[in-house]
Symmetry: D2
Subunit: 301 residues, 4 copies
């Protein structure tokens, strides 16, 4: 049975583009980590070492910088869409482009009660993300946009239980009627369209996720995630699907009894590993298909 | 259009199991990082907060430890297979189990020319990996085994070029006829069977990857990877597919001309980011299908 | 010449104490990373393996948790002072205790315009720190308090230059009259007393650091740091000394000329390594001496 | 009381120099991370923003690369000594130079039983280190050389106990007569001279550390460290002092009794945090004084 080349892709990962918009004295900053990946007719590069169809990853990097100047960086989804369209439209061997952008958040430094015009402080642990996939030719539905957030670290100090679970020979966990629930959330949602007010949508989704995490009484992280995801889809018709991945960052109640102390939910040990990992998707029936949009270099191997 | 629960899974990630085999004075050590993920009938946990079908992740952790005692830890593939079979066979709601194991390598400390019986030093940057997927009922071909290696950092100081590539408006890269080629390789290969002498196979694959990287004159990382993967499949009929993911860890020749010095391939700056990322699969025609074996918590969102 | 035991210390590092104050429905959270280190008469432990004078590091960890209950956690300086006093007062062999605390910042989640009572989101990259050193017997001036902040990531997109510097044979850097200045600041300041409103002082120092970074026109990072430190000492008589350590996080202007584009301070590459590292202390003449307060496990080896 | 500039230093951190020696077909590789720090007459840079005495950190980086060509890289101590001498001798305002070098280890890839001439694999977790301090004028004893190793991860699966320790109200730890002892060792030793066969000395010290860790029956990590350090000083008269810093990487015996299983030292949980941190110095009476040699940017703030 023959040995053949299978799926392959290549690109430039983690180009750290910082774009200052300085049209007025009040500067704007966009701080990005951009990764590109191309698929197409690259068989000869693999089997014969022939690079005639291979646009260097160095060129892809240059393009990320040049486009930040030529097209500016508004919302990261728009910036990534323009980049991805360029690769499939202008580079002949490319049949599919995948562009991922992480954006780091900066706030203006407060000076004498006002916001400084050109000085910023990194804020938030969290990262805003976008992942664009475009197929060459671009038939209907061949532009996919996934937006997201990661490293959104959340904790509620009550309003969470874990009881009534399945038990087997290896079960020792006690039921908990009041516990800390904490996670470092990754949420990614796929739009049904590429025509969205991205920044506004991001803000709305983020707020829904926070509010539902806060206000839903949690019988398990699964239920909390499903409520969060459902609320996002209920609020926005243009979102086809959301995926949530949530480590259960365990906070163990410390046994203070040996020291003659009680501990009614006050002193916890925040453990590193292992952690539970709970993942679920919430989808809209009849939404456009996902196609290859969830594939990326990170899922390849 | 209705909002519904989509794909979901849960488990315990990164349980750090260390198993000492001390049947004789010459101890053996297995140092593992184990992650489990279960799929099945968990809808009620999401939609109603009903945990009656949910085996706690804490129990999954306990099982990892107990199985290390009851079954020992020989090759990580065997250990993971036994764990995964347990989850699908013994836990009613589970329809699919996915178990991943990383193994850290220890060598014996040399004392007076001999190997010490119970003292070890961590060696190698690299990590040996296994990922097992088993479907309940276990029809033919419903046990998938992927073995692998990651963080295998390789460098060749000559025998590599990059020339004749596609150029566009954004291309500034000079052609290189002699350069450093360096990567931190991730390789994962899927077996066509679950009956393999895992340790021996791992050693053979690792050696082939190293030798081919060393001896193939490289016209591009794509070609090197394809040669490495092809050689693995040529050597072992029981491997259906191999996937290689290789960051191109750039080593830039430093321009010493301003200091009146030439630099014929002697002084380089090892850059961190961005890096090229080259990925390819090499497959055997007619091999058993991959099924869900490449899916994992890491590829979910 | 005899071989003898030199300086030595031991303790428990990175105990992750989370304290929930839940006296009312509006919970408070303190999220800490606590490290203790003890010096004293521990020679026999080293030279004879005799542990009779060694309070286990496990006990030190237990004490961190128990004190979080018994004494609560208000300001981290107070919590660390109480812990350190306990070790030198109550554990006979201890002659010096050093307690370091990192505090991670959480904000309340906003729900319907209000602050949620028990749900929090991690905010800020930055970490508040405290390092307490106490000598047994506690003569005057034998309690030292160093407070600080680290990972305070700052950037100004103009208002910075670097010109007129020393040049030698190896200098190729062009002068810059307008550049990005960015750093990830570590600032630590030593108080002249242990009687301070710690939280208020921390807030004031942080704000001065931010404002001075924003408003001082920078002729070099050295000058910026000195201005920041001087302003802190000018504002608070109870601070004896401040030390600032600032990586110069380089943002290189990208050359877009090959693409027919100009780049007037708009598109930058944020580089990882190498980075400049600028460090300076600003001190008050005649302030109480620092004693051993700057020594810590991190500076030992 | 006046506010004045205190200690200050600046330099370029983490320049990643890779030097290939290719005088024959059998290449040699030196893979380094180099940091420089200068002290001297830099007050005007701080107080007036005057850079006339400031050699840019960019120039320091260039010098690291140029010296790798001009002087080659043999042993890292020699390379760092030449660099540090240059800064104090040739740059007028510099009164003290501190150069630190980390070296990453590569082995040759084995091909058909032989060693490949120009292909290497990163090996070992551990890093070899050197820290050179030189004062301008260079009086006798004004060149200090500290060599070291870090991230040397060691484990012994028996031959370790912890009993007879001090107990107080907060002590719950059970005595252990047979436990795993594991650490990630940092060892740094100061030479009494700058005339040493550095590579040979490094190999000897590393081997002594490994052997003593293996063969000393451990009554506590303190005792093990002291035995390791003493053995090094006993073996080499040219070493004045050694400092050892050792996290006690806890491996907790898992309680398998709930599952009807015993656990006689076979199954352990490798915990991340907290960890014990044990540090001691072993010194030679009458050795030359350490001067500023242990100070570095890492100990500044």
């Amino acid at each position: 049975m023959a040995i053949v080349l299978g799926q392959n892709q290549y690109g430039k990962a983690e180009t750290r583009v910082v774009r200052i918009h300085r049209d007025t004295d009040r500067h704007e900053i966009r701080d990005l980590n951009v990764s590109t990946a191309l698929r197409g007719d690259f068989a000869a590069a693999h089997t014969a070492g022939d690079q005639a169809s291979v646009l260097p990853t160095d060129t892809q990097k240059n393009t990320c910088f040049a486009y930040a100047k030529e097209h500016g960086v508004g919302e990261i989804e728009d910036y990534a869409l323009v980049l991805a369209r360029h690769f499939v439209d202008d580079i002949a061997p490319v049949s599919r482009a995948h562009v991922e952008v992480d954006e780091y958040r900066w706030d203006r430094v407060a000076v004498e009660g006002g916001e400084h015009a050109h000085t910023f402080v990194r804020t938030g642990h969290e990262v805003r993300t976008a992942a664009i996939t475009i197929d060459a030719g671009r038939a209907v539905n061949a532009e996919w946009v996934i937006s997201g957030i990661r490293d959104l670290v959340l904790l509620k100090s009550t309003g969470s239980q874990f009881t009534g679970f399945l038990k087997d020979r290896y079960t020792t966990l006690a039921e908990a009627t009041d516990r800390i629930l904490a996670t470092s959330l990754t949420a990614r949602w796929r739009y049904a369209t590429a025509q969205v007010a991205w920044g506004e949508a991001f803000g709305q989704v983020r707020q829904i996720l926070l509010e539902r995490f806060a206000t839903v009484y949690s019988r398990a992280l699964q239920q909390t995630l499903y409520e969060m995801g459902s609320a996002v889809l209920a609020a926005r018709d243009d979102i086809a699907e959301i995926r949530l991945s949530a480590p259960n960052k365990h906070h163990f109640l410390v046994d203070l009894a040996p020291f003659g102390l009680d501990n009614p939910g006050e002193v916890f040990h925040a453990d590193d590993r292992p952690y539970g990992l709970i993942q679920c998707a919430v989808t809209r029936e009849g939404a456009p298909p996902a196609g290859p949009s969830w594939e990326s270099p990170a899922t390849f191997a």
